[in-house]
């Protein structure tokens, strides 16, 4: 196939007309999408990323003032909290593959945090992982956080796989508290178990 007639045509592209067309399409699609979303029953609020941060909002509504690391602009009132975007210090939580998690497990270089419920933790967890149910941050923070070396300690949160948000919520909450080296093992418990890596059962790490 002779590619020359295709690839040398870039200079003969009518750029002005093309960009006008592209911009027109973009504006039309954006306008249509926003209108559709406004009237669609399952539309989402555009101002706040509510589904992603709902747990964080719950925490803020409960006014956890004992932790000085919170860097948010949320108000104490429910209505205001729902309408105020939460500023996360870092929305870029690094994620680890199974290999990355296992390497750190072998080197004992990181602390694993199990973000699942107590029952799931007792049924089986990564050896050494601390129980830290993300939906009960208030209960576990005073127990787990003092056990950590410092705020630069490498922390790896996990839950039951890619369908679950608990590890991300926990990682975000910890990052917001000033922990600088928080990662998420995204494959989580199902992958660890499937790989036949060591596990512990019971309520002790």
């Amino acid at each position: 196939m002779n590619l020359k007639p295709i690839l040398t045509n870039l200079s003969s592209v009518p750029w002005k007309q093309t960009l006008q067309e592209a911009w027109g399409l973009f504006v039309f699609a954006a306008f249509f999408a926003v209108i559709f979303n406004a009237f669609y029953a399952e539309g989402i609020p555009l101002k706040v990323s509510a589904p992603a941060n709902h747990h964080l909002q719950d925490l803020l509504k409960n006014n956890i003032s004992t932790y000085p690391g919170w860097k948010t602009t949320a108000s104490k009132t429910t209505a205001a909290a729902a309408a105020t975007p939460i500023h996360l210090e870092s929305d870029q939580i690094p994620r680890l593959s199974l290999v990355g998690a296992k390497n750190r497990f072998d080197q004992k270089s990181a602390v694993f945090l199990d973000a699942r419920s107590a029952e799931e933790y007792a049924q089986g967890h990564i050896p050494g992982a601390l129980e830290f149910y993300a939906d009960d941050f208030e209960k576990f923070a005073p127990i787990v956080l003092p056990q950590l070396k410092d705020k630069h300690q490498e922390l790896i949160a996990y839950c039951h796989g890619s369908s679950c948000d608990l590890s991300i919520e926990l990682a975000k909450a910890l990052t917001n508290q000033g922990y600088t080296n928080v990662k998420v093992f995204f494959g989580g418990w199902p992958e660890w178990k499937k790989a036949n890596y060591p596990i512990n059962t019971g309520d002790q790490p």
Partner: protein, 151 residues
């Protein structure tokens, strides 16, 4: 229709076919996301590319942008502008996928069907590079056949 030369003609036919393929592909990719912005928002959040404040707007606009761009490409209406958007989208998707792959991310691609767990691999990135190449071939066409546009 006046033929210029058999070779050029053949290239234009391939470019026209690719235009329809790219358009159909984009429409297909948008369908699962159109009615479920909340789920698409979660998929996009996992990519860690956009700031949290921009995510909902992107989750609402992107599927419809894909849909209308795909429609324009398939029908040949403002096809070159649509091909430009197609290339920009594929370029962004490729970079986003490649970046997440280097981070050791194990996540749902969310490229086509959002519920179908499609793990991110090197092949996913290569596939998007192939789509981008197809888009570039369409974009640089001198003209196209079977289109709403006259050019």
């Amino acid at each position: 229709m006046k033929k210029s030369s058999p070779k050029t003609n053949w290239v234009l036919i391939v470019q026209t076919l690719l235009r329809v393929v790219c358009g159909t592909l984009l429409i297909y990719a948008s369908l699962d996301k159109l009615g479920d912005a909340a789920k698409f928002l979660k998929v996009m959040e996992n990519y860690h590319i956009l700031p949290a404040d921009l995510l909902p707007l992107a989750a609402v606009v992107l599927p419809w942008l894909e849909f209308f761009t795909g429609l324009a490409l398939a029908l040949g209406w403002k096809w070159r502008g649509a091909a430009f958007i197609f290339c920009v989208l594929m370029g962004i998707y490729t970079l986003a996928l490649a970046w997440n792959l280097t981070q050791g991310a194990e996540m749902n691609c969310g490229c086509f069907a959002m519920d179908k767990m499609e793990k991110l691999t090197g092949w996913t990135v290569l596939r998007d590079v192939a789509f981008l190449s197809m888009g570039l071939i369409v974009f640089t066409a001198k003209k196209t056949y079977a289109a709403f546009d006259k050019n």
